[in-house]
Every structure is written in structure tokens, then in C-alpha cells.
């Protein structure tokens, strides 16, 4: 028999406001597609500024260890990306999603990436075409 459920309005219980919905995160790389170092700190700052402007605030996590296999050379790149994330307000996020996409593509292009990793609401995806 399933356990009984007790309903609770967590936000109201803390006197909070539930304006913020889903989580958007971008992985800021510290290496390029060939394993050479990139200016990670500058891109972290830029991502924080942009996400804070769009969402009202943003957080950068400590570096995590990740791996990416270059599909062209076959080389495995072990890197330490920094995850910058924000909980977004739906209307503002939709209005400014184009700016975010432009930022991600510029970062991918200027740091010579094979892919930029992103998350939205728990869904993990990559951007691999950065345009000119």
C-alpha cells in the first residue's frame, strides 16, 4: 500500500515567491577541442553577467571533471568545465533566448570548441554548430 501523502505549500510556508521556474545551465570549458587551455575565467564572468541580467541572478559552481572525445582526431580531452546556472523566469527567458544562443555560439567559436554542453530543466544537450 503506498504511503499516504501530506500536501504542503513549501513556498508559502517560507513566505517566498515562486517567480523562478526551470534551471538553465551552461558548461564553460577550460580547454579547446585539441586540449589547449582557453580563457575560462573571462567566459565565466561573461556568462554570470548575461545570466544575472536575464534571470536576476546566477551561480558558478566549482570546476567539475569531464571528458569529451574529439570525433575527428579520436583524442579524449579530459577537462574541468565550470557550470554556470540560473533559475529563469519563463517570459524573460523566452524573450532573450536568442541572446543566450548568440553568446553560446560565440564562446564555442572563439574558444575553438567541438561542442558546448547545456542543460535545461534536467535535459542535457550540446551545441555543435557555431556559425561564422
Amino acid at each position: 500500500m503506498p504511503d499516504p501523502e501530506v500536501e504542503i505549500d513549501i513556498v508559502a510556508a517560507f513566505g517566498g515567491v515562486a517567480d523562478y521556474g526551470q534551471r538553465f545551465a551552461v558548461y564553460i570549458p577550460n580547454k579547446d577541442r585539441d586540449g589547449a587551455a582557453v580563457d575560462q575565467a573571462g567566459w565565466i564572468d561573461a556568462a554570470l553577467v548575461l545570466l544575472a541580467d536575464i534571470a536576476g541572478g546566477a551561480t558558478a559552481m566549482p570546476p567539475v571533471t569531464g571528458a569529451w572525445r574529439n570525433p575527428v582526431t579520436g583524442a579524449l580531452i579530459i577537462e574541468e568545465p565550470v557550470v554556470v546556472y540560473a533559475f529563469v523566469k519563463p517570459a524573460t527567458f523566452v524573450d532573450r533566448i536568442g541572446e543566450l544562443a548568440t553568446f553560446v555560439k560565440r564562446m564555442g567559436r572563439e574558444t575553438n570548441q567541438g561542442a558546448i554542453a547545456l542543460e535545461f530543466d534536467g535535459v542535457f544537450f550540446t551545441v555543435e554548430e557555431f556559425g561564422e
Binding site: D3, E5, P90, F120
Partner: protein, 145 residues
Amino acid sequence: MDKSSNKSRHNVKLVGRTARERLRDVSRRPPAIDAQDVVAAFNGRPLSMTVGSTRAPDMLLAVRNALMDRLRSTGGRPGLAGEGARQRVQVSAQDWQRIADIADHVEVGRHKPSPAQVASVLIHLALERIPAKEVDRLVQAEQQE
């Protein structure tokens, strides 16, 4: 301070009980955006993977990295570095099969680790997740009894 109360304060035991009631959050939330619409806006490629999924290869990568750190070759099949003695540990057939499956999916250079080597690394990684302070506190409490 009363010695007996001091003793009982340190006599910490971990007891698991079945939850009888669950909380369900009914807070009002802003309308959700479909994640697939966001992926499309970025012209992104979904990886059929959700954050925190046990199917994600993070754990396999952690196992492989730990094996890379610890496997040492002296000419024959690489062995685990360190002075640890071999221990006899009972493992269920189901768990051993999962360990063997992990060993099949991890390569370190040209070497495929044995299930026993993977089991050693998995125990180490699991222990790293238990804060050392908690274990020390339990040991001290036992010694004071």
C-alpha cells in the same frame, strides 16, 4: 556533567525506518517551458540523457579515472598499486554480474580491468562518499562505551 548522560549522547546508532507519510509540494509554479523547444532554439543536439540519470557515463568515467591512477604494470597484467591486502568479501551474483558488466565497459589504455579490480575501485569511491567525520564519531562513541 553526569557521565551516563554523556555516554548516551555519544552512543549514536543509525536506524533505518520506512516512511509512513510523504510530503507533496503544492506550491504554485510559473508555467513550464518545454525543454525540447529550448534545445531547438539553440539548434542543439539532445543526448537522450537527463541530469542525475544513473545511465549517464559519469560513474564509468570516475571508475576509469580511479583505475588509471591505481593500475601499475610490471611487465604482465597491470595490478592495483598500494599495499592493501586481499580480502574475502561476499558479493551477490547479481552485484557481481553488474561489476563484470562495468569491467567490460571500461578500458585503461589497452588494458581491460578485471572485475575484482573494478570492485576494489567501487568500494573506494563509495567510501569517499561517507564523510570521514561521521565514521570517526561512531568509532569514538563505541570506544567510550
